[in-house]
């Protein structure tokens, strides 16, 4: 590592990654941006050669996406759903990680494996399982509870439950791993000062976990904003989920059902921008709070 005399070797080693980066990341992003500023212009009856031309329309598609009422409803639905998922999923993940880390727990290994298990279940399969569990004719839950899980007012919670079920284990593992890396003598010192396990968890462990909590939150925000699999899979089982329930579902519909690639491209850039703004906004707020930086 002392000199840079390895010549072209590092570049050679990085060629596969950079080629893949260019082909499957940089070019598609550029292409989306380009598409988002275009539109097909039809002249006359739209028949014959040259009657349909692709023209540049600047930011028209973006302003259309931003003023689309259907899309805004989608954002509101996903906002409610996402807030629910983030709070419950990360709250449970943190709780379970702290419990696993505390000294006095029996069957810890079993619980850890069981709670992580849904991570191995694809989103489609998870939604399918819960979807059938929500059906009155099949569900052991419905035997006990008289709730219509797929009604207009409950379907968001039912969907959030699928995401919480699937995501808690992975986040728990990330937080638990971070907890195990904290030096144990910190706790011993706190214990000698008479702190209870709960005080240690709140005053020592959670502050030490802050970086891991931030990481899991940012990843969860990005994933939640793009929610697509759960509502799409649940749709055949209920009529309370529209084909534009989430913004990404609208992108899919625009691109592949309606065939309006330009709107789809503009909307997907808006989704990306919002998830970046939310992620960075969250990072800023947390930094200001936790570290007192301006």
């Amino acid at each position: 590592m002392r000199r840079s005399g390895r010549g072209a070797w590092p570049y050679l080693f990085l060629t596969p990654a950079m080629v893949l980066f260019t082909l499957f990341l940089a070019v598609p992003i550029g292409y989306t941006v380009w598409l988002a500023t275009r539109r097909t212009k039809v002249s006359g009856l739209g028949l014959g050669r040259g009657a349909r031309r692709e023209v540049s329309v600047g930011f028209d598609n973006f302003s259309a996406a931003l003023s689309d009422a259907e899309l805004w409803h989608g954002w509101l639905r996903v906002l409610g759903y996402g807030a629910l998922v983030l709070v419950v999923m990360l709250g449970l993940a943190l709780l379970f990680a702290l419990l696993l880390d505390s000294a006095r727990v029996r069957l810890a290994r079993f619980s850890r494996i069981a709670i992580f298990l849904p991570y191995a279940v694809p989103g489609v399969a998870a939604t399918l399982l819960w979807g059938f569990l929500y059906l009155p004719s099949l569900s052991p839950i419905r035997d006990v509870l008289e709730i219509d899980f797929l009604g207009a007012s409950t379907v968001t919670y039912s969907m959030a439950n699928v995401a919480v079920w699937g995501g808690t284990g992975f986040n728990m593992l990330v937080l638990y791993t971070a907890l195990r890396a904290i030096p144990r003598d910190l706790y011993e010192a706190a214990r000698l000062d008479g702190a209870s396990e709960i005080q240690i968890a709140v005053r020592v462990k959670i502050p030490m976990l802050t970086p891991a909590i931030i990481l899991t939150t940012v990843f969860s925000i990005i994933a939640t904003i793009q929610v697509f699999t759960e509502p799409s899979t649940l749709r055949p089982l209920t009529n309370t989920i529209s084909s534009t329930w989430s913004p990404l579902m609208k992108v899919y519909r625009d691109a592949f059902v309606t065939g309006d690639l330009y709107s789809a491209a503009a909307t997907s850039i808006v989704i990306a921008a919002i998830s970046l703004v939310l992620s960075f906004g969250f990072l800023r707020v947390v930094r200001n709070r936790a570290f007192g930086e301006g």
């Binding site: 590092p10 596969p16 989306t32 079920w165 055949p236 992108v251 690639l261 997907s268 850039i269």
Partner: protein
């Protein structure tokens, strides 16, 4: 005595409450899997007539029916999934390991730029990529092929990051220097020194990537039209779409869902020690 007593009380504030809470979590997580196991054993008639939590007698019939469904398309989906997840994760691990090692152990112009570019990919939502990827693949005539699902999933920024962290911790610089003094070329150093030392970390990267591809729905859903190339996720989705209004197909859907869980859960349980989210410790215990 008094202080020892206080210490003990402080350690167990609510007795069995922590264990109880964790077990509740475990039951919540296992319950749907357990239920689908039961549901998959029921014949179509039993599904709606017998108690929701008692086993049925139709498991073998369901499996036979599922495998006969549309000339055994379920088998094809399973094989495709294995190909996508296995092949994709293998290639992804190789690219990640080589890139991570290079970024960890070489100093060269543009290193930070390249690393930041690659890592920035983590923040790009897949939605921005899937549609243009589809359009670009159609332009070169590769949409609706195996390549369309395999190739875009090879580059995985987070795996490169993990590989870099692992390489930093697991490969001593002195070993590389010794190799160089002995006259080994950079290529040989990588194959014979670096990669063997990175194997445990690579297993972890492989597993996470395998699961990610196995579970991916959006990309194959967008890329593929021919159901002979579907992975299980898209296959189950179409099965549900066509069967949601026909309760007579429910047993097929449930059996399919159950069977599709087995490989991943098996992999998961047998590879326990490699499921780690922190590779900086450098070695797997």
């Amino acid at each position: 005595m008094a202080s020892a007593h206080r210490l003990k009380a402080a350690r167990a504030p609510w007795g069995v409450a922590p264990t109880g809470l964790l077990l509740l979590g475990a039951i919540y997580c296992l319950f749907p899997v357990f239920w689908v196991l039961i549901a998959a054993t029921k014949s179509p008639a039993e599904l709606f007539s017998t108690s929701t939590l008692s086993f049925g007698t139709g498991f073998l019939d369901n499996v036979t029916q599922l495998f006969a469904y549309r000339d055994g398309v379920f088998w094809l989906w399973a094989a495709n999934t294995l190909l996508y997840a296995g092949g994709g994760a293998l290639l992804s691990t190789a690219v990640s390991a080589v890139s991570g090692y290079t970024l960890a152990k070489y100093r060269f112009r543009g290193r930070n730029l390249i690393f930041n570019l690659l890592i920035g990919g983590i923040l790009v939502p897949s939605v921005v990529l899937a549609i243009p990827q589809y359009l670009l693949f159609s332009k070169v005539g590769l949409a609706d092929t195996y390549w369309a699902v395999l190739l875009p999933q090879i580059l995985h920024p987070y795996s490169i990051y993990l590989a870099r962290v692992y390489a930093t911790a697991a490969i001593p610089d002195s070993l590389l220097e010794a190799g160089r003094i002995d006259g080994a070329g950079e290529g040989r150093l990588m194959y014979q020194v670096a990669i063997p030392l990175m194997v445990p970390g690579m297993v972890t990267i492989f597993l996470f990537q395998f699961v990610a591809i196995w579970n991916n729905f959006l990309l194959p859903f967008i890329m593929l039209g021919d159901d002979g190339k579907f992975p299980l996720t898209v296959g189950l989705f179409t099965l549900l779409q066509s069967g949601a209004n026909q309760p007579s197909l429910y047993n097929l859907i449930l059996t399919g869902a159950f069977l599709s869980l087995i490989p991943l859960i098996a992999l998961f349980l047998t590879m326990q020690r490699y499921w780690k989210t922190d590779l900086s410790s450098g070695a797997v215990k």
